[in-house]
Amino acid sequence: MPGAPARQKTARCPRSIGEDAGDMDLSAIGSQLLVGLSRSMILFIISSGLSLVLGVLRVPNFAHGSLYMLGAFTAFTVATALGGGPGGFWWAVALAPLVVAGICLLVERGLLQAIYHREHLMQMLLTYALVLIFSDLVKLIWGVEYKSLMPPPALTGAFTFLGTSFPRYSLFLLIVGPLVAVALWLFLNRTRLGKICRATATDREMVDALGINSKWVFAAVFVLGGWLAGLGGVFMAPTVNIVLGMDHSIIISAFLIVVVGGLGNVWGALVSALIFGVGESFGVLFWPRFAIVFPFLIAAVLLIIRPSGLLKSVW
């Protein structure tokens, strides 16, 4: 069942901490901020894929969480198949998202392309059918036991900075997240396909009129979205238990991040992923038991005060 990942519960601070701010433990705040930021990076990687799909294909893809779960489970299999050695994680990073992307290609050509003209409710229900099917397939293939993936030795443990210890893996995520963001920016702004994607998001008919086969643009975007979901799954895997139901716990957060950020706007997804991740980790600091309330509370408040998202929606 969903919940804050176990590693987020490390900071045990009394609720009264807000009342005597003078004694506030700066190192706790620092490490909590880092944990929050690193979680934001994973959330961004996952929701940027969802946002691209929503922006270009206009399909609210509930199966995005399942793709993320598939990424994590495939990563486990890849790492185990290679003997669980230190290189296993890197092979998982390389291969698992590609497997998920391959599945996405089949799903897009086989099913999704039939429902682009349908209303959102039907699209959601079709992708929800995929959620059901994928969750039972995962149960069939991997069983119901918890799985875990070890990060490579270089990323385990903690380093000390200004008297505070920070987990190395969080720092790694803090480097990877911006790299993915920059790569996405380069793709969307500097490549022909990326420009076509943005054009399709803005005005599909015009793209068709220019003689571009938008069919394959859609397929490419869905595959890219799935690749990002899989990548998010691999990066999340060392920080949580890989378990059935992890799809259910991430998909609502991902959707809310995308909607709060502005539908289809990847940079909006980055901004709101930062708000969500940091908000949740400070929730852990101030009110540990109800920390998982914060993302939903933030989303609800932001949606009420800015009903069409923080940044401009492409819709």
Binding site: E119, L132, F255, L263
Partner: protein, 333 residues
């Protein structure tokens, strides 16, 4: 923004069909004597079907007739159920107070949520509802002292009259028929027809002076109320509550029921609920992979039978009543 599709005007019989009363009364009588002839397990199953059917019909009231993208209806089901359980465990009030309070609490919280939601359109509406619903879920899930947290509350005792399974069956049956009757009257009342008009053509409705938000909010609250009734009945049957009642996947399940039976028909969601309850029981006996079956059914429905079973039948028979195309076009971004 896409242009508004031109859609057929709602065909509505001016008078409620009196001829329909006879089959309804006959069905009621048959169901009334049924428990004497079937094993108690089937009595339980029938009771569960009435409860689920009431929940699905209440969702369809705002989804199919109001055109609201209600993605998290199970919240109100859970709120109704939790009100009964919490009244019984945490207060000294008699249990019937909880039974009466359940739907009222669901409607009150529905009013608060709906007040915010109806300001938003389409997908944003659905997403705000998801956020608010999950907010309620997390509070229930984590507030151990008050709600029992992820364990829920178990082992409630019921008043003698509805303590037995048969008593519970009769209570559920009567409440089910009364609630569906009320909703049917509402759908065919001037309010209901106006509501359908706001769904079919919001722009035109607004230009002739209909307050769209008020109608949407009303349908939202009414749907929440009846979902609360279903939640109360669920506790009477099961005597326990758990946070799974208001998790979002429960809402998705209810959406599937509406789609399966047919969102453009009044009785469709009930049929869909019965089908899902029966199928999950029957298939659940043979395999633990029931979800994959439900997923495939859902795929087939979306791709080939989006109007649902009853909607399809009505089309084939061509009776022309019902609401054409209720399932199309919720969302105008």
């Amino acid at each position: 923004m896409r242009p508004q599709p031109v859609r057929p005007t709602v065909e509505k019989d001016a008078t409620l069909k009196r001829s329909a009363l006879l089959p309804v009364a006959a069905a009621f009588l048959v169901l009334l004597v049924l428990p004497s002839f079937i094993p108690s397990y089937y009595v339980y199953l029938f009771t569960l079907i009435y409860i689920t059917a009431l929940l699905a019909t209440s969702l369809n009231f705002c989804l199919g007739y109001g055109g609201l993208l209600q993605l998290h209806h199970a919240v109100f089901y859970g709120l109704g159920a939790y009100t009964v359980a919490i009244t019984a465990v945490r207060t000294s009030l008699p249990l019937w107070c909880g039974l009466l309070l359940g739907p009222l609490v669901a409607a009150a919280i529905g009013w608060v949520m709906g007040w915010f939601c109806v300001r938003l359109r389409g997908l944003y509406f659905g997403m705000l509802m998801l956020a608010l619903g999950q907010l309620v879920w997390t509070v229930v899930y984590r507030w151990y002292e008050f709600t029992g947290g992820d364990d829920g509350i178990h082992g409630l005792s019921m008043p003698p009259l509805i303590d037995s399974l048969t008593g519970c069956y009769y209570l559920t049956l009567v409440v089910f028929f009364v609630c569906l009757g009320i909703m049917y009257l509402m759908v065919n009342s001037p309010f209901g027809v106006t509501l359908q008009a706001t769904r079919d053509n919001p722009v035109r409705s607004e230009s002739i002076g209909i307050n769209i938000r008020r109608h949407q909010l009303a349908s939202f609250v009414i749907a929440a109320f009846f979902a609360g009734v279903a939640g109360v009945l669920f506790v009477v049957l099961e005597r326990s509550v758990s946070p799974a009642l208001l998790f979002w996947s429960k809402s998705a399940e209810v959406l599937i029921m509406c789609l399966l039976g047919g969102m453009s028909t009044f009785l469709g969601p009930s049929l869909g609920a019965a089908a899902v309850v029966v199928l999950s029981t029957v298939i659940g006996i043979h395999t633990e992979y029931w979800l994959i079956v439900l997923g495939v059914i859902l795929l087939v429905l979306v791709l080939f039978l989006p109007q649902g079973i009853l909607g399809y039948l009505e089309e084939r028979i061509g009776s022309g009543r019902g609401l054409k195309g209720a399932s199309e076009d919720y969302v105008e971004g």
